[in-house]
Homo-oligomer: 167 residues x 4
Amino acid sequence: MPTVLSQFKDIHTFIFDVDGVLTNSQLLLTEKGELLRSVSTRDGYAIRRALQQGYRVAIITGGKSQGVISRFQKLGIVDIYAGIQHKVDAFEEYLLTYDLDPAGILFMGDDFPDYEVLQKVGLPTCPNDAIPEIQAICQYISPIKGGGGCARDVIEKVLKLNGKWVG
Amino acid sequence: MPTVLSQFKDIHTFIFDVDGVLTNSQLLLTEKGELLRSVSTRDGYAIRRALQQGYRVAIITGGKSQGVISRFQKLGIVDIYAGIQHKVDAFEEYLLTYDLDPAGILFMGDDFPDYEVLQKVGLPTCPNDAIPEIQAICQYISPIKGGGGCARDVIEKVLKLNGKWVG
Amino acid sequence: MPTVLSQFKDIHTFIFDVDGVLTNSQLLLTEKGELLRSVSTRDGYAIRRALQQGYRVAIITGGKSQGVISRFQKLGIVDIYAGIQHKVDAFEEYLLTYDLDPAGILFMGDDFPDYEVLQKVGLPTCPNDAIPEIQAICQYISPIKGGGGCARDVIEKVLKLNGKWVG
Amino acid sequence: MPTVLSQFKDIHTFIFDVDGVLTNSQLLLTEKGELLRSVSTRDGYAIRRALQQGYRVAIITGGKSQGVISRFQKLGIVDIYAGIQHKVDAFEEYLLTYDLDPAGILFMGDDFPDYEVLQKVGLPTCPNDAIPEIQAICQYISPIKGGGGCARDVIEKVLKLNGKWVG
C-alpha cells in the first residue's frame, strides 16, 4: 500500500479549484458589482516552476471571472475550466483530452463542489481551512490556508521529491 | 421551553444585516471615494443552497451600495431592504408582505441598528465579533467573524437539521 | 490630579490622524498608482453618533487622498486638515478657529508625525499597534488596532460616561 | 569578526525586493486582470526618512507593475530595477553605477529569486514569513511579516544606531 510520500513523488498533474484554494474565499465587492479576489504570489511562482519542469497544471472552477482566467493564463496554464457546474464532468473531459491516469493526479479543493473529483484522483488534498467534510476525504491537508500559498506547498513537495524544485 | 437546537430546526426564513455580518466591517476606500466591501464565497454558496431548498433569505441594511445589492441579487435574493434608517420598519413590512411568523425567523446582526429587530425574531444570532450589547441579547453567537462565513454557519445548521444541506 | 476616567468624561473634541488610526496602516496599490485604504464601518457609526450628540470631530492627516476626505465629509466631519506637513500648526489653527481649550481634547495618533500634538492635548491616545515611542506618551492605549475600530473605542467611552451613546 | 549590530551601524545602502517584502505576497485580482498589492505606510515613512538622511535606497523586483513603480518613485526612490529575471545582474549593475562596496549594503528578500543577491551583500535580511531556504542564509530575520513594516524595522535599526532616526 503506497504511503502519502510515495504518492506525492509519482504526481504528474496538478488540478486546483480557485475560490478558497488559489484565493482566500473572500471576495472584495466594488460599488459597480465587480468582484476582486486575493491570490498568493508564492502560488504563482510555484505554478510557473511546475510548468517549466514539464508538469501539467489545470484549473476547474465554478466561477468565470475574466481576471482570474487572465491571471492564470499569464502564469502559463492552458487548461482552465471556468463556469463549471459539475466539476466531475470537466475533470473527465480533461482526463480524456490528454489520456491521463487519475492515479498520478493531485487535486486540491476546499468545499462541496470539489467533493466528487477529490474521490476520483490519486492524491486528494485541501487547504487548512477547507470545510470538515472535505478534510475528511483528503489524504493530505496543507498547513496553509486557501489563498495563502497552499498550492505552492503541494507543488514544492512533488518537485522536491523529484529534484526539480531548485536548480 | 424550546432549546436553541430545536429553534434552529424550525427556521424558515433568514434575515441578514450586511456590514459586519455578510462583510467584515471594513471598507476599502478608493481615491475617488468608492467603497469596497469584503464578502465570503462560503456565505454565497450557503445562501444559494438555502434558496434552492425553499428557504426565505432577506437582507436589511443601512447601506445602499449598488455593488452589494447586485452581489446579493445574483445569488438569488429578492428581498433586499437597502438604505434603511430604522430596520424594524423594514422588518415589519417584510413580515406583512409574506405574512410571516417571527418565531420561525433567524436574524443575524452585529451592531446597534440591529438591536430592535433582534428582539423581535424567534432566533436572534450574531457573528463572533459583534459588539457586546448585541452578543448579550443573542441566543446564538457564531464562532465565526463577520464576513468570514458566519451566515453559512447558521444556514448550514438549519439545513443539516432538516436533511437539506447536501444531496 | 484627574484620573483617565474623569478625563474621558470631560472631552468635548476628538481629533484623529488617518493612516494607522482611522486606517490600518496598509495601502492597496492599483496598477495605475491609485492608493486604497481600509477603514472600519464601526468608526464611521461612532463618528456620526458623536457629531449628532454635539461633539466636535476633526481630522489632521499628512495624506491628501480625495477618497479619504470624501469618506469623512460624508460622515459629517467639517474640519479636515489634509496634506499637513507639521500637524502642530494645523492643530493650533483649529484651536484658534473655535477658541478651544486643549484640556478637553482627545487626540489619537500612531506615529512620529503625531508626537508633538499628542503632547499638547488633555487626553493623548493611540491604537494598540502604535509605535513604541507614541505608546510611551499616551494616557490611553486602545486594545484595538488602527483601522479596526479604535476611534469608536474612545468615542464610545466618552459618550457612555455622559449618557449619550445609546438612546 | 563583526557582530550583526555593528553591521547594521555601517550600512549605507538598502535594497528591497517588492512582492513578499514591501508587499504581503498577496495580489488582489480585479475582473479586468489588474493586480493590486498591499504596502505599509510605515515602510513608506521610513524610506522617506532614510533618503532624507542621505542613505541609498534601491528596489530590485521581478514584477513590472506601474503602480508599484509610481508608489516608490513618489517616496523618492530613483534606483528601481523592475521586470528583472536575474536579480544578481541588476544588483551588479547597481554596484558599478555608484561604485558601491557590498559590505555596507543591506538586502531584504523573501524567496528564491533573492537567493543569489542575499549571498553577495554584507547584511542579508528577510521578513518573518520568508521561505525557510531564505531564512537559513540571512543574518537578520525581522519579527515583522512582508508588507507589514519589515523594511521600516531594518531602516529604523540602522538610523537609530547612527542617531538619525528622530530629530
